[in-house]
Point group: C2
Chain length 578, copies 2
């Protein structure tokens, strides 16, 4: 029986950490060797981390990446491996090295370069023009990279038709909620249509605004899921591939002969490289049974993405501890909970900063939350500096009415206090603004927006509640106090202020925002969906006029198909009304 033992190393790389990434690669190779694996795969650009962005313009970065690859090749005795790296030829290529037993067998160059959403690959890379098939242990294996496999009748299909029975795709596919389902659906179709085993090795880990969710998958030639890597955690997926079955399925598929022709001209050509004709020993140690896969609840999934993104941002940037301003509201409560799950309670500090407008309940709720989370908390009143500001501004402000200027001073005092603690003790400040607020500018620049990482900037307010309830359900008690969840949202920057005084209800607001921001619908189109035109227009104007604030916001975890940041690039100077 023709078979292959395949390992997919779902590792968490760091951009520019050649040493650390190599250590992960070599460790996985050693483990694979001990398991009698025939071929091991690694994610896209495993050697240098993804996405390296303009580091690619630094020749030393590219050189170190080539040197790392050399070291991986040298360490590959007794194994075949597929390793993502940057290939420096006359131009740069997003590449996969196929290495075997200490030799570089071949290099695949990514053909379809994504240049949409968060991606700018045309900025850096030239597109590949060859779809090679490697004969490994006598079996035809096609290799491609990420985007390449998303095209029907693309490189993977061409490889299958030309004899590849196993299709390997190494990937760095960023998370948004539900994306793994569309990946799974696409990969299952690719496998069943191409009658090939499809092994999809995704990256895992946080990198600035992106979280790579892992979820590597292997499908049999009927599109059945054989194995899956963990979500949001490193993993090594080892699976025995029954290639005999691919042959049988193809033989019994009446349309296979006709389908194995490609009448259209494609921008690539097929090549064929023999690595080894000797069949797999096929007798590695028995593999443990796969854990059964529990489809996660959407909010559990998003919560875990936020935890991983926060953890990796803080640690990859050399911080250990984080500080959060606790207002007693739902946003800061959720952020504190995520921080504790990411870093441990001993690495999170809460700061309560009451003002003359804070309700007594707010400080009480904040304290209760801190106690529930087991974190240290400080109380620093903002009244003395606030009074001092009003005093020194007295002359300049003479004859003016109290307005948003005085509100923002308070938010900015809090920002300044948190940054002072950050500067003094090396804690990273986590900001607490949600996507609804970021969208309409219901935040204070340099105030509550001040900090290193904006944990929930891509989470709409209505979902903030759902995530808090999810976390409480996991805890089995009211970790986020019920009073926090039940109170009316308020910035508490003036007397008796409530969000609802100036904003539509969040249930309504979030629907309008999703249509305007994430789907690029115009006011007329959204009104036609059944919303009040005046409300839609007001919301759209608030979004448009807050672009300058978002441009100065810290990064945060992308969890939706369109997050603020690299995903949505709008001019600040712009008079268009959508």
């Amino acid at each position: 029986m023709r078979r292959l033992r395949l390992a997919m190393a779902q590792i968490n790389t760091t951009v520019g950490d050649f040493e650390g990434n190599m250590a992960r690669i070599l460790k996985a190779m050693a483990e694979a060797r001990s398991l009698g694996v025939d071929i091991i795969t690694f994610p896209e650009m495993a050697v240098c981390g993804y996405p390296p962005e303009d580091l690619l313009f630094k020749s030393k970065f590219v050189d170190e990446n080539m040197k790392s690859l050399e070291a991986v090749i040298e360490a590959s005795s007794g194994l075949t491996a597929v390793v993502g790296f940057v290939d420096a030829k006359e131009k740069l290529y997003n590449a996969a090295a196929i290495i075997s037993d200490g030799r570089l067998i071949g290099v695949y160059h990514k053909i379809y370069l994504p240049n949409y959403g968060v991606f700018d690959e045309n900025r850096y890379f030239k597109a590949g023009k060859e779809t090679p098939i490697y004969i490994i242990a006598g079996i035809g294996v096609g290799v491609s990279i990420c985007e390449d496999i998303w095209f029907e009748d693309g490189p993977a299909t061409a490889q299958a038709y030309a004899g590849a029975e196993v299709i390997i795709n190494i990937s760095a596919s960023p998370y948004h909620y539900g994306k793994w389902q569309s990946r799974q659906q696409m990969l299952a179709s690719r496998a069943s249509e191409d009658i090939a085993i499809v092994a999809y090795n995704n990256l895992v880990g946080g990198q600035d605004e992106l979280v790579f969710d892992g979820n590597s998958m292997v499908f049999d030639e009927k599109g059945g899921l054989l194995a899956r890597g963990r979500q949001f955690a490193e993993d090594m997926v080892v699976v025995d591939l029954d290639v005999e079955s691919v042959f049988n399925s193809r033989t019994h598929d009446s349309r296979w002969c006709q389908r194995s022709l490609l009448p259209e001209k494609k921008p690539w050509r097929l090549t064929r490289v023999v690595v080894s004709e000797e069949p797999s020993k096929g007798a590695g140690p028995p593999l443990p049974p796969e854990e059964s896969f529990q489809q996660p609840d959407r909010f559990a999934e998003v919560y875990d993405a936020l935890v991983l993104g926060t953890h990796d941002y803080i640690l990859k940037n050399g911080f250990k501890k984080a500080v959060v301003g606790l207002s007693g509201g739902i946003d800061s409560s959720l952020v504190a909970a995520i921080a504790v799950d990411a870093l441990g309670a001993s690495n999170v500090v809460g700061v309560v900063m009451p003002s003359r407008y804070s309700s007594p309940g707010s400080s009480r709720d904040a304290e209760l939350l801190a106690k529930n989370l087991g974190i240290v908390f400080l109380t620093i009143p903002i009244e003395p500096p606030f009074a001092a500001y009003l005093d020194v501004l007295g002359e300049a402000f003479v004859g003016t009415k109290v307005d948003v200027a005085e509100e923002n001073i308070q938010a900015r005092i809090r920002g300044n206090l948190l940054m002072a603690l950050s500067n003094k003790f090396g804690w990273l400040v986590l900001t607490t603004g949600n996507k609804s607020e970021m969208a309409i500018g219901y935040t204070t620049l340099y105030g509550d927006m001040a900090g290193g990482f904006a944990v929930i900037k891509d989470v709409f307010k209505t979902n903030v509640y759902k995530l808090a309830k999810h976390r409480n359900a996991v805890a089995g008690f009211e970790l986020v106090p019920a009073t926090v969840i039940e109170k009316a949202p308020s910035a508490e920057l003036k007397l008796g202020q409530k969000d609802a005084d100036t904003l539509p209800p969040y249930e309504l607001l979030d629907h309008i925002l999703a249509a305007y921001v994430e789907e690029d619908r115009g006011v007329e189109q959204i009104t036609a969906m059944g919303y009040d035109e005046a409300v839609v227009r007001k919301v759209a104007r608030m979004v448009d006029s807050s672009e300058y604030k978002r441009r100065q916001a810290p990064p945060g975890v992308k969890i939706t198909p369109k997050a603020f940041g690299r995903d949505r690039r709008l001019p600040i100077s712009n008079v268009f009304k959508g």
Copy 2:
């Protein structure tokens, strides 16, 4: 004699301002008509403004752009015009409409889409595949867009070889110092090599971080400059083109026959459209003599770029007045002078915010500058809020040493005060950090970095001095006081602090920064240029570790080939040491 009267409308468009842009287009068309012009041209995307970025994903934006074009077509009686717009077909194209006497004659689609530096055109557009020649008044005219003309043997050359005697290129080419010279050189070569008149119509005006510098140019077929549009200002360049001379030059060029063959296969095909065979009336009113062109001094040019960029950012974003914190140092003095030149003295407010560490000279210098500029200035001491911060932080800071935390509190108080004035009175805050400081992070996030526009963020410190001296020379007196220029740079955030205590001299620093930031050289390469390795390494590390600050910085005018911003996209989470 075969001739054409050509007008190039060098207009200042605003992104999304369909009404305003159209008004400019129609006004220029009316003027051209009165001057007996045969053909008038407008910049790239004149209808919608450039660059529209992700507004292109909004269908209403694209629709309004198409409607504007319709209106321009209707208004084109008696004229032929080339107008930049976005063409909505199955995909979007960066396009030029060729319209004549109320009809759309044809549409050219940009072939070479820039996707480097600040450009992301592959994100939005499909590349064109045709290089049309239009017969206008019996004369062959080739039309292309911006990047297309930068390629030797590109679309313009193909059009020339196929009979075009006049090559029109509509453009939106952003400024950096010296760029117009390289444009001029390239265009002169294109004209003389293709033996064709080349008319290059550039955009003018500021758009977020970009300034388009105008400098539209017309060359005869020998590469001689016939006319030039103003730099940094709207203009209408009208010139009589002697096409007869092109014919004669080609006839007398012994290599023209051989050269008019294109052996290689190109990714486009030539087309030919007759607009009018009737010769130009050729008898518009006589044109005034061209003003003689004075090559500007480099610092005069950069200064003007900063003024236009600041003016347009403020006005296009709906502000009228600006406020600047005046420290008595060179950076804030220069920014205030630029603001006055951009907005007028009555629209600029200076704020002096002395602290316990301010030298008496600083306030005096700031006051003198404000008087020289004729601007209102306020004095707001920061001591009372500073004392209040230290007081409320006393418990948290117990047992710690005074360090950068206390320094930053002061800078952030100033930021908070300026933002309070902004919120109260609607003044836009201009920040004063220069490129040297932005590079190494010698700035306080939410402190001196707080504001709407960072006027000199792309100007190295050594050049800040040169710009101040230039401005003084124009003024004819010490507008920026000599004491400001002569004093040793200091942030004055602790007693006796001088930049030179912790930083290399700026003359040295700026050279290292230019190599590391603008040229992407590594530490080893820069050391090999003759600099001390320890200094280079320290500077490189400071640059690397300040990426998170730059990500939260306000936009500012790009004046170098590589500015911070869209031009330089580095990850924050990154452990690579260059």
